[in-house]
Subunit: 321 residues, 4 copies
């Protein structure tokens, strides 16, 4: 980028806006991926967090894990019953391995789930002890699954839908703005919605070393008390803006990234929630403006049309003299 | 409304009071319905949130859904057992479809609930496999219902009862006030109760386009540390008030709406709660004052009488010179 | 109280200290009882909150309720099975009412708890339907109890132990102070502990009408980041204090009450907790000072001795000139 | 320590930094142990908190407790069934005590877990009553365990890994700094991470009495909005620092302790979490600087290498003139 277009340095970062990212992340990749997830990988010590993994798993995968675990635990207990011997369980006896093993397997199922039909029941001391242990195991497993179900349902999750592009649009009073918008995808009530917008880019320092810069951007408003409809976030391009008198191309080669950090209080679930979004050079429009995405209706009140979130029209920008 | 009664514009809105509502909701309807729910409808992408729906359902409906689901799941499993064949389950055999199907149905019930009397038990491999799967299904369903019960019981819900009318009453020192009051209907302790009062109305802008305006109203006090009794919210009608030197009729044709947003911390449940209320023109009294709704009792302390929440008396307003 | 000892009026109350109590509670009783509970009774509309009642019940009572409920539900279902008729259940048949009824009763128990031994099992369509419904009922009841157990265990509850008396003691630099102290009785970590101290009393207004007054008291420190040991709260008696140049007797006839409101964040349970305490005239000591209640130990660190919380010694007060 | 190196007194403590620790803890021991736990022991009244104990127990111990409890409860019920008599339960009868007792024991297991095979079932009124009570007991126990599992999984717990040493390193602009660093060991997202750093030491007061002093230390930054990578905390050694013109040896004999208090909001679990760390004289390095512990990767983004958290190199300090 041309010397005379030099960006503001990040000396203006206020402590409360500090993102906790260093200035050495100068590689040619996004800091946040398209879903707002920070791109980082941990190496070294292995930390296994089964609870968290099960929590963040999709519902399909979660049920698959439960199903496989159920099948395997029963297989193990069946193996034990089989080895205790043919006389240890009541019911019919079979001469072939499979019939006998599956008798043990289904007895195990009936014990683990505490169904206990009783057609097959433990006869000897040892099979009774194993069955006692298995019934306890079963109850603990389902106690655990109960907790996991609840945790999966209630974990904080703001489903905020963002426009796929950010627009450079005319704002007002001769000032242009960087704009994108968002809607609350869930039917919950979000209150105290706060946003923090930061522009990050990579630039050579005086010694020729690449440094990543962060600059918080001023917003028309950075907090709203309610969030029932959509919210268009506006960064007015004033003299202090890094976008001031820039062209879109100026952002192309400096790995620029517009990062939004949204926090809100989800009053339906009683939890603080967070959402992130990032826009790269290729996700910014020059001289476009968002079209309205809601209208008033006598019967239902306001009608929000989700599919219009990306609807824009061409609109001349103000000329900065 | 007469030009010379022109309301204050909403330039005085502080960011922290921004309700997140645009100025284009100019239709002839309430923004909040009588229960404080924001009137909006989502259109477009279909978002199904079974957990949230079950959570917000009434207890009666919730149990109806469980009951129907239970009936249907058993019917499906009964169908499977019936099709596996007559020899797959122990117990008596019937020649008519209904008797045989209901035998399967009740076997399914006994498996899904893990009752497992054993009078009927699976005999063949296939019926054992289905029963194993059904017992797991049953346990998962009840694990899920356990979580839902807990979530329904504990979800944040401030039951604040508001007076049905707002009064224009004499306040003090020659100043009138807009007043309404509220009580905590639940037996829980609410602390840090904060209220934000906004007047909204629709007015033509200089170009003759209808615009919705929002103006936060100053309050005698907007936060209390405890909320054990009732709280009368007072907006003193000073020079900066949009009610200043207005008559009630002035609010009739401008779709005026007095909106209260209350947040509090429910110390019994450890959750932040929220409540909203709106008053329209037809819900405002001119020159009425609330009567006390609690009295001191030597034995019980303060006695709050809920049924007096709407008790008012006529009271002359102060004349503004 | 003598006219010339007139207390400061409560004009100095800052909004954030407003307790939400009116000035009309002038009866001759405490506002807070000895456990810090606000003395108020609701009258009028009946609001039944079974969940909250079960939550606030003692563990003993809670289990008694469960036990009685269990006995009654089984009695009802037994009554239904008995009326369906003697042929509806398998197992032995009895000629006397009691034996037959209790057979039904224990069958009900085995169904509700899903034990289902199978020695007794439903035979006819109707008994099968009722058993299917009862098994569902049982599972729902235990799902509910599971949620209640968890809620009872985890509900926010700061167990703060207060000294039974407040002392008027010498503080420092020639200034006396009103002092009381508290310890965290639970083994949890409380952080961000904040206290708000208010003196309340009843006094005649210029028209001879009794009015309750509230005055927040300045504290040496009103917030601590950690609360590992004990905390002595000190209100320094400076010129602005309502205790300034007062004798203890001055507080006797004005129904004075020293009210402490404590909030903290319980980091062990991840919840905000609250505690209250009030001291009346009869619970204040003149010219006493608390003795230390912890000492350093090379092995264990600090040793806190709970039983010393009320240990005081006589100590001359500073003379105010 | 030399008189002319006298430390700043703690007059600069701001109320919000008050740690709630008195100045009398002058014993020769750490205030916080190596895991950040405050070293204190309660004496006197015995407070038993079974829920909290079970919650803070390791998973292994927790399961051991459940297992033993299960064994003991069954042994007690078996004892009751045995004493009701040989005719009270169906199934085979044995002549020796052990066989008969274990028959009762396994019947108890099948009742408590609600497996209820039915091979053994209660025959008389009394055994039916006990079995009814045991089935209820079993369901309550497993309801409770379900709650405990969930509570153990979700209790707030920030797993922050700290460097084992704090370094005195050159910082910038001719100023040295006290530095240590931390990483988030869990895969959760911590936001609003705040740190408070305090130096504590023991010194004689003018009367020759040992007093513990606390001084909050200024930090380069004390709050970050995100915590995706590692964070190096820096206390710049300026004129107001207690480290100013000190040598490491000066801290040796005064029982100095550098205490860090970290709070953060865990967005994955929706909870505020806390972590503490303390460094003593023996855990400080003179003239060492941390080496980077992450690098940029085109594919994965930033790679954090946990095992490098303690990697340092020698680095000359700036000379203070």
């Amino acid at each position: 980028m041309a010397k005379n277009h030099r960006f503001n340095t990040d000396k203006s970062i206020h402590p409360e806006n500090d993102l906790g990212l260093g200035n050495q992340l100068t590689g040619n990749y996004r800091l946040l991926d398209e879903n707002g997830k920070f791109k980082a990988k941990r190496k070294g010590k292995f930390f296994w967090h089964p609870y968290q993994d099960l929590l963040e798993m999709s519902w399909f995968r979660f049920h698959l894990v439960i199903f496989l675990f159920y099948a395997v635990v029963n297989a193990l207990f069946a193996f034990i019953y089989y080895n205790i011997g043919v006389e240890s369980l009541s019911g019919e006896h079979y001469n072939d391995f499979f019939s006998e093993y599956f008798k043990c397997y289904f007895f195990s199922v009936q014990t683990l789930t505490t169904v206990g039909y009783g057609a097959v029941a433990p006869l000897c001391f040892l099979s009774n002890v194993v069955a006692a242990f298995e019934a306890l195991t079963g109850l603990l497993i389902f106690a655990l699954i109960t907790g996991l179900y609840y945790a999966k349902f209630t974990r904080p999750k703001a489903k905020i839908l963002y426009s796929s592009m950010a627009n450079i649009s005319p704002f007002k009073d001769g000032i242009n703005g960087v704009m994108f918008r968002m809607v609350n995808q869930r039917n919950t009530d979000l209150i105290d919605v706060a946003i923090q917008l930061t522009l990050s880019w990579v630039e050579d320092d005086p010694h020729g070393v690449k440094r990543r810069h962060f600059q918080p951007l001023e917003l028309e408003r950075s907090k709203i008390a309610l969030f029932p409809l959509n919210w268009t976030i506006v960064h007015p391009i004033t003299e202090t803006s890094p976008f001031y008198r820039k062209k879109l191309e100026d952002f192309k080669d400096i790995n620029a990234e517009l990062m939004a950090f949204v926090t809100a209080y989800d009053i339906t679930f009683g939890q603080m929630v967070q959402s992130r979004k990032s826009y790269q050079y290729s996700e910014m429009n020059w001289a476009k403006k968002f079209l309205p995405m809601y209208y008033a209706d006598e019967k239902y009140g306001s009608i929000i049309e989700y599919e219009k979130i990306n609807d824009v029209q061409d609109m001349d920008l103000f000329d900065y003299v």
